[in-house]
Structures are given as C-alpha cells and as structure tokens.
C-alpha cells in the first residue's frame, strides 16, 4: 500500500488526540478527585452517586433531628426529676406531720412549706424548650398551669371543659357560661342549676367546674389554676420528629395536665384541712397518713412518665448512633462510587504522560525528514 507523509501525519495526529483526550480525563480526575465529571462518563455511576449523596444528606438531617429531640427530652427529663424531688419533699413534710404532735406553729410551717413546694411544682410543669411549654401537647403556647390572671377572649370562647378545673382563687364565670346537667356545686354547698348564666358569676376559691362546662367570653381565672385550654384537651397530641424514612418519635410527654389536677386536689385538701383545724374535727394524723399514700401514687405516676421518656431517649440514642453509622457508610459508599483512587490515577497519568511524550518524539521524527533533505 502506498503510504504518504500526510497519512502518517494524520495517523500521528489522531493518536496524539486520543492520547491527549485520555490525559485530559485523567487530569480532570486528579483535579476533582471524582471518577466522572458528567452523567455520560458513566450513567450508572451518575445515578447511584446522586442517590447516595441524597442518602448522606438525609442521614445528616435525621441526625440533627435526633439532636433536637434529645434536647427537648432532656428538658422534660430534668423537669420530671425535679417534680419527683418536690413531691418527695412534700411527702416528707406529710410524714413529719403524721408522726409528731403538731403545734400551731408547726402546722403553719408545714403549710407554708407545702405552699412553696406547690409553687415550684407549677413552674416545673410549665417548663419550656425554646419558648414552648413542653407538657402542653400541641398547644405549646399555653402553660399547663396558668401563671397569670387569664381572661377568655372572643377567639377562645366558648370553651368547653374536657377535664375538671378547680379554681385556685376567686374566679369569674362570664355571662352566657353554660353549666352542664348536674349543676355546679359551690364549696359552701350552693348548687347552681344547669343552663346558661344570665349574668357573670363570681365563684369562690376551690370551686370545681365539672366536665362539659361551656365557658363564655369574659371568664377570668387567676394564676395557679390548671389551664382550661389544656386540661383534658391534649390527649394524643404527640409532637412527632422525623428520625428516619417513615420513622418518627414523639418528643413530648403527655399526662401532665391530669397529673397536676390531681396534685392540686391533694395539696388543696391538706391546706383546707390545716386551715380549718381543729374546727373541722378531722384527725390530722389520719389525713396525713392518707396523703402519704396519695403522694406515693403520684410518685409512681411520675416515675412512669420518666420511664417512658427514658425508653424513648434510649431509642433516640440508638437511632443517633445508627444514623452516624449510616452517614459514615453512605459517605464511604459515595466515595467508593464516585471518588478516584488517587494512587491509581497518578500511576495511570504518569504512564499516559510517558506514552504522550514518546508519541510526540516519534511525530517530530517522522515529519522532520523528506527526500529533499538528502538531495543536493
């Protein structure tokens, strides 16, 4: 076959281009440390790396969710611990009161102590996480126990009670408030018949509003009363955080409204008993003995909440550590999928470069000479 200089030149140029294209690919790989620069380099790898990258980012997000859930639960745990301690303190007072023969000043002291401890309990029940009341179900903008005097506005009313509310101080029922069947019994024994109130009604401290009472606009409760917007209304209001694909955990603890309601009744009973002693003719020893049993029940109630919370926190811990593993695994997979093996590329680059150089050498030799150089 006839071979011309031009053919050799063409072939040389073609192989040079091929060489350079390969060099370019390797050069890019070394620069970006990625096997592929665009989907067409390897469509399968491109698709897989896209999904893996999303997996990594997802694991990151879920991890940050577990962290936020953990802080929420730590606050709750703290509050529950404090509540346990306070109830224990109250119980200790009761034990003291039941064993000793009480003088008036002892009674007063115990009453003040219990009053103080009750105040603390209220604060713990109203504990917040970044401005949100953790025990209030979805209604995190509402405290469990009213911390200031509260008047029902037009947007709140009418408000139907779904749990009993015992007012801590004197309260006012707005005009139009509907008393349910069975009527409303005031502490002095007066019974307000069922039906709507024509005018507003002032009720004394200690009145218990029955379930079903429809509170009208203008109803005023003072601080220390269980929040009528919360009590009985937050059942099942679990705030869910996503901690995995299709997997959520509820971060809040429920039941505090009912719990506080019961505690309130216990405390009130003690206070009433002490205040009216000895006119009421009760045996203080018996009363305190009875209360010790009640507080033991409350304590077991709190420890149940704490146990619940604890198991959730354990689950969170497991999840967090699994998510850390997931993230590591996905990152590693992603790296295996799309990252270059640097040593390999470096060696390949060097050998390719050597090929390129020898091709250049050969090209320069071939194109250099023609017959003309040897004619004279």
């Amino acid at each position: 076959m006839r071979v011309t200089n031009g053919m050799i030149r063409n072939n040389m140029m073609n192989s040079l281009y091929t060489n350079m294209a390969r060099l370019d690919t390797l050069y890019n790989q070394m620069n970006t440390l990625k096997k592929i620069q665009r989907p067409s380099d390897d469509p399968i790898v491109a698709g897989r790396s896209l999904k893996l990258r999303i997996n990594v980012l997802e694991a990151e997000q879920y991890k940050s969710n577990t962290e936020e859930a953990t802080s929420w639960m730590s606050i709750t745990e703290n509050a529950l611990d404090n509540i346990t301690e306070i109830i224990k303190d109250i119980r200790t007072r009761c034990v003291q009161a039941s064993t000793d023969t009480l003088e008036k000043e002892d009674r007063d002291k115990i009453r003040t102590d219990i009053e103080q401890l009750w105040e603390q309990l209220q604060q713990e029940a109203n504990v917040t996480y970044s401005g949100r009341h953790v025990f209030s179900g979805y209604k995190t903008d509402e405290p469990v126990i009213l911390s200031k005097e509260t008047v029902l506005t037009a947007t709140d009313a009418p408000l139907t009670l779904e749990g009993e509310v015992t007012v801590s101080k004197q309260a006012v029922l707005g005009a139009g408030t509907v008393i349910p069947a069975g009527g409303l019994t005031l502490p002095d024994g007066t019974v307000i018949p069922p039906g709507a109130l024509v005018t507003s009604l002032t009720i004394p401290e200690g009145t218990t509003l029955p379930v079903g009472t429809e509170l009208a606009q203008g109803t005023t409760f003072s601080s220390g009363t269980v929040n009528p917007k919360i009590v009985g209304k937050i059942d099942g209001q679990n705030i869910q955080y996503e901690i995995g694909v299709g997997s959520t955990i509820s971060v809040n603890t429920l039941g505090m409204d009912d719990f506080m309601n019961k505690l309130f009744a216990d405390i009130k009973e003690i206070k009433d008993g002490l205040d009216n002693y000895p006119d009421n003719g009760i045996d203080l020893h018996d009363m305190f003995d009875g209360k010790i049993g009640d507080f033991d029940k409350r304590l077991s109630g709190v420890s149940q909440m704490t146990a619940d919370l604890g198991s959730k926190m354990t689950r969170l811990e497991y999840t967090a550590s699994r998510l850390t593993d997931d993230k590591t695994n996905f990152t590693e997979l992603l790296s295996q999928t799309e990252d270059v093996d640097l040593e390999e590329v470096y060696v390949e680059f060097n050998s390719q470069y050597a090929v390129y150089q020898s091709a250049l050498q050969a090209t320069s030799k071939v194109i250099m000479n023609t017959l003309a150089d040897f004619l004279r």
Partner: protein
C-alpha cells in the same frame, strides 16, 4: 529519414518537461485541500512501418494528465460522513444539556431537593418559629428557580439550534449551487475529451462537506449526445434531488405558524371590510363600495391560495351585486371551524407547534419549489438531521422521536406538574383526610368549595362542602372526569408565575386540567406564601386565612409533606429522586451513545480517508523522486540531441568538407 532521431529526442525532451511541470504542480499543491495528485500519461508514439526492419519507434507521446482518485472510496466516505456529522452535533448538544443539570455535583438537583425537604422538616420541629417559616419559603423559591433556570436554558439552546438549522440549510444551498456550477464547468471542459482534474477535485471537496451536512447519493452517468459521450453528475440529499447536472434545487425555511398568522390577519381584514360595507353613516359612494368589494374579493383569493381547504360560503359582497351595498349571511371556515361569520372574526387559528414545549418561531425546512421536505424522515442523517433531532426531538411517540431538547423540557414540565399535584393535595387536606377543593372555573364569588377523599372501598369520592358524608353522584364517568378537571386544591404550595411581571406568582392560578398551565419555566411558590411565610399551613387544622390554629405545635401536615420525598407513587419512575435520577441516567446514556457513535464514525471515516489519501495524496518523497526521474530523462534526451548533433556534425561537416 533525415533528422528523424532529432524528433524522437525532442519528444523525450517535451515529455520530461511536461513531467516536470506536473511534478511541480503536485509539489506546490501538496497542501491544497481536496487536491488529488496528478500523473502524466505517457505512451510510445506511433511506430513507423514498412521500412523493412519491422516497426520503428518514433519517440514518446504524452497522452493525458490523470488525477489519481478512486471514486469507490469517495462514495464510501460520503456514505459514512453523514452519521459522523449527525453524531458530532448530537454529542456536542447532549454535552451542553448535561452541563445545565449540573450533576453530579453538590450544587445541582440533590441540593435543591434536600434543602426543600430539610426546610419542611426543620419547620416541623418548631412549626411556629418565624425564622424557620421564612427559611422554608426561601427554600421553596430556590427549588422552583432551579427548574425555571433549567427550562430557560433549554429553551435558549432550542433557539440557538434553530439558527443552527438555518445555517445548515444555507450551507447546503451554497454547496448545491457550487456543485451545479462546477458541473457546468466540468461539462464545458470535457467536451474536448480532457479530464477536468482541478474542477473535479473542487466538486468532490464540495460533496465531502455536503455529505457531512446531510446524507447524499451521487451518480455520474454517461450520456451520449450526437455520438459523443458526456458525463452528467447528480446529487440527491435525503433521497431527493439537490443537483441534477445543470439543474439545482434550493432548500428554504419557513417560520412555523406563519401561515396561521396570515390567515388570521386576512380573516380580520375581511371581517372589517364587510362590516364597513354595511355601515350606513356616512353613506358610501358607489366607487367606495366597489373598492371595498374588490378588496374583499382580493383577500378571499389570497386566503384560498394560502390554504385551499378554506371554504367561503354565502354572500360576501360579490362585486356582481353592485350597487347593493350589502352582504348576506356568510361564513369562512376551515376544517369545520368557523373563522369569520357575518362580519365577526369568531376565532383565530392557534400557532402551529410541533411540540407544546417549543419556543416560538421555529423554522421548518422546505424545498423552495414547494415540494415537501420530510424533517422527521428516519432515513435522513447528517448535521442537519442532528440539529433537527436535537431541536425537535420529544422522545418516543413524538413526531421526531429522538430525545432532544423538547423532550427534556417536557420531562421537566411533567416533573413539576406531578410534584406540585402531590404536594398541593397533601397540603390542602383537612384533619379528616379530605382534600379541600375549589372550583376554579366558577365565576361565583367566593368560588364554591368541595371535598374529595378516597373512601373505604378505594373509590375517589367528591363531597359538597355542606355534607362530608354523602358523595356527589355523577351520571357518567365522563361527567365525573369533567368535574375533576375543574377542581383544584384550595391551598397551594406551588403555583406558577403570571406572564405580566417576572417572578410574581399568579394571584388566581388555574391549576385545573392537570396543571396544564404550569410548566418548569413558570413553576413558582404560591402567592400566599410568597407574600407572607406565616401563611404556610403546618397542621390540618391550621387555616392561615382566618388565623385559626388551635394547636400551634401540631406538625402533622408538615410531616405528611415531608413524607412526599419518599412517595414511591408520585411518579411511575418512583419518588422525585428516582424521577430525576432516571432523567440523568437517560441523558447520560444518550450522550454516551452519541459520543460512542461519534468515536466509531470518526474512526471509520478516518480509515476511509486514509485509504483515499493513500491513492490521492501528494507525497513529497515520491514527487522528489519523480523530479529526479524527469530531470534525468530530460538530461538523457538532451544528451541524445547532443549525440545526434555530433553525428550530423561529422556527417555534414567532416564528410562534406572535401
């Protein structure tokens, strides 16, 4: 027989001199594109007989200057060049599309979709936190902008490719004209029997280029005219004649929808003129009437010539009816649609587009002589086909089935429509799982609202606002379908921007008809959320318009939205990530295929080209050798003359000198 030897020697001198000329010409044209080396044809001259010594040679004769060319290799190259051109364009364009998506990287789709769902998730943790609401709004905007940008870039490429198509058509025309004029030059030159080497080289060079632009078929026929043989060269492109010897055809371009525009304009003019014809005040003079009637008749003729299937019935102001300045009931219609009726333009023809996703003003390629040029012809190839496929290709089932730019725009449109549908439906649910709907087509204020829910039997039921328990009964499935199409979710996360001012979401979006008006180009956040991030619904009882939100920390709606990220039923490809991965893989495979074809075709063509070079290319070494050969032949012939000269000198001067 005196001096006979001189003549022989001289023929040798001439021959080698010509040889030198041919060699010089070869050497100087060594780098001329398309040049084929030429070789001097030599033959021993006609011998003398009857001298009693047998035939006596009379020297050398130069017969012709041949160009060394193998037309078989030309044809072979031309039949492969078209695929090379086609895949060159496709490889280039696919690679441009790849850059638009910006994958694989940490900044492309992966980022926007993760940011969006992380934003929803972050808000779900503290649903009433203002900063997180604002952050989510921004993430929704970023997400929509990603698709807006892709769509805009793709449309821009389509526009660029449109000019590319025009450029290719122009180049084909230019080459056609040159081939035709070379045909005529070759014909003229070869009347006298010579081979028109240089012209043929030039013509082959033209066909070389033409064959990259579009698939060609060439034929060189010998025809006999008055006992003389002539060669006639013809070129067919995509199966149709471009050049036939001295005759050339031209391709042209036509803007799509230009005809509809003209028909619409003419219809409007006719409607206006007929109305004027019966306007009583001020009274028209008879010449004015005649003018109007002529005008109408004129426009009608034009209309008919644009599309012969247009029918004009009734009295439309026939000039024969002068002086009656009236027209009767008339109708201009096309394909069953009435365009103009009694002086009123009833409808305008929509601009014709090949794909819904196309930008305006795309060119159709046509033959200027009016014959159809089939752009979607699968037997066509070449750069023109590459450009057309990339510009018009809308995937399987479309008129041009390649996965071109409209295909990717369509996939993006489908993506945002289905994504918005799924998200908006979830976003519009109430606490009982009913999707709140609004009748977007109703003129009533406020628009009527409905509910829909899949009942326990798995049947999608619709309910009136007043009664969530009794499904609305529909007489036929068609009626239900129609009802379905006029309803849209009451609350929306995603809508589209209005055309008036860029970037502002439509205040009253119409999402009916399966979100037909929404495209990747106008995909946007909804107006309510755009105006105030606080309007993002966070739970099923949260109604921002009335400020109702009894449970501020309830995040059930946000969690449901967040779960859509892994909704495997959102697309037939799976969840949103699966859909996009499918596109990337498809794009990658297309680009890879184009690259691979380009590589194969390059190696095939360069192989053929090398074979052709082997035959035709000037090789300096060879030419230098020829140079020496002819130089020495010349010297030898000169020596002959010298020798004969000395013989004659002896004969004439020595012998004669007595």
């Amino acid at each position: 027989m005196a001096f006979f030897e001189f003549n022989i020697a001289v023929s040798g001198l001439f021959a080698s001199q010509r040889g030198l000329a041919v060699t010089s010409n070869n050497i100087t044209n060594a780098t001329t594109p398309g040049y084929s080396r030429q070789v001097l044809g030599q033959t021993a001259d006609f011998p003398l007989t009857g001298l009693g010594v047998g035939m006596l040679g009379t020297g050398v004769a130069t017969t012709n200057v041949m160009r060394m060319r193998d037309s078989y290799l030309d044809t072979k190259l031309w039949s492969q060049n078209d695929k090379l051109g086609e895949y060159r364009i496709k490889a280039q364009q696919n690679s441009i599309i790849e850059t638009v998506y910006g994958e694989p990287s940490d900044t492309g789709f992966t980022k926007v979709i993760n940011d969006l769902f992380n934003g929803i998730d972050d808000l779900s943790k503290l649903p009433d936190e203002k900063e997180r609401q604002v952050a989510l709004r921004q993430q929704i905007i970023n997400y929509t902008k990603y698709f807006n940008n892709i769509s805009a870039s793709l449309s821009g490429f389509q526009r660029d490719l449109n000019y590319e198509v025009k450029a290719k058509v122009d180049e084909i025309n230019l080459l056609g004209t040159r081939i035709q004029s070379l045909n005529s030059q070759i014909y003229q030159a070869e009347i006298y029997g010579d081979e028109a080497n240089n012209f043929r080289d030039a013509r082959d060079l033209c066909v070389d280029r033409l064959s990259e632009l579009i698939n060609v078929q060439t034929r060189e026929e010998e025809v006999e005219i008055d006992g003389k043989k002539f060669k006639q060269f013809s070129v067919k492109v995509a199966g149709q004649t471009l050049v036939d010897h001295m005759f050339v055809r031209e391709l042209g371009i036509e803007v799509r929808g230009a005809k509809e525009d003209q028909i619409n304009n003419l219809s409007a003019e006719i409607a206006a003129a007929t109305t004027k014809l019966v306007t009583p005040l001020p009274p028209l003079t008879s010449s004015e009437i005649a003018d109007l009637q002529n005008l109408i008749a004129n426009k009608c003729t034009k209309l008919k010539s644009l599309d012969p299937s247009i029918t004009i019935t009734g009295n439309i102001g026939d000039p024969a009816s002068i002086p009656a300045p009236t027209y009767g009931a008339y109708e201009i219609s096309l394909g069953g649609q009435v365009l103009v009726e009694d002086g009123t333009q009833l409808m305008k023809l929509p601009k014709e587009k090949l794909n819904d996703e196309d930008v305006d003003g795309l060119y159709d390629v046509v033959w200027k002589d009016g014959l159809p040029f089939d752009m979607s012809d699968n037997n066509m190839s070449g750069e023109l086909k590459g450009a057309i496929d990339m510009r018009d290709g809308c995937g399987t089932g479309a008129e041009v089935s390649y996965n071109g730019i409209p295909y990717y725009i369509k996939r993006m449109d489908d993506y945002v429509r289905q994504f918005a549908t799924a998200m908006n439906e979830t976003y519009s649910k109430d606490k009982d799982g009913y999707v709140e709907l609004i009748d977007a087509t109703s003129a009533a204020i406020p628009k009527p609202t409905y509910f829909k829910k899949v009942d326990e039997n798995g049947v999608l039921q619709y309910y009136n606002e007043a009664d969530k328990n009794t499904p609305i009964t529909f007489a036929t499935t068609a009626e239900k379908k129609a009802f379905e199409l006029q309803c849209q979710p009451k609350y929306q996360l995603f809508t589209y921007t209005d055309g008036s001012s860029a970037g502002t979401p439509e205040a009253n979006p119409n999402l009916t008809n399966a979100y037909k008006l929404m495209t990747a180009a106008n995909f946007s956040i909804s107006k309510e959320i755009y105006d105030d991030a606080g309007n993002i619904r966070t739970n099923y009882e949260h109604y921002p318009e009335s400020g109702t939100n009894p449970n501020t920390s309830n995040n059930d709606l946000l969690l449901a939205l967040s779960a859509q990220k892994d909704n495997k039923k959102m697309y037939k490809e799976g969840d949103p990530k699966d859909y996009m991965t499918a596109i990337f893989s498809e794009l990658g495979i297309n680009a890879q295929e184009a690259n691979m074809y380009l590589k194969t075709q390059t190696s095939i063509t360069s192989n053929i080209e090398n074979q052709r070079l082997s035959v035709s290319q000037v090789d300096p070494n060879e030419e230098f050798a020829n140079l020496i050969k002819y130089q020495q032949a010349y010297q030898a012939a000169a020596k002959l003359i010298n020798t004969i000269d000395s013989i004659y000198e002896t004969t004439i001067f020595r012998l004669g000198n007595f």
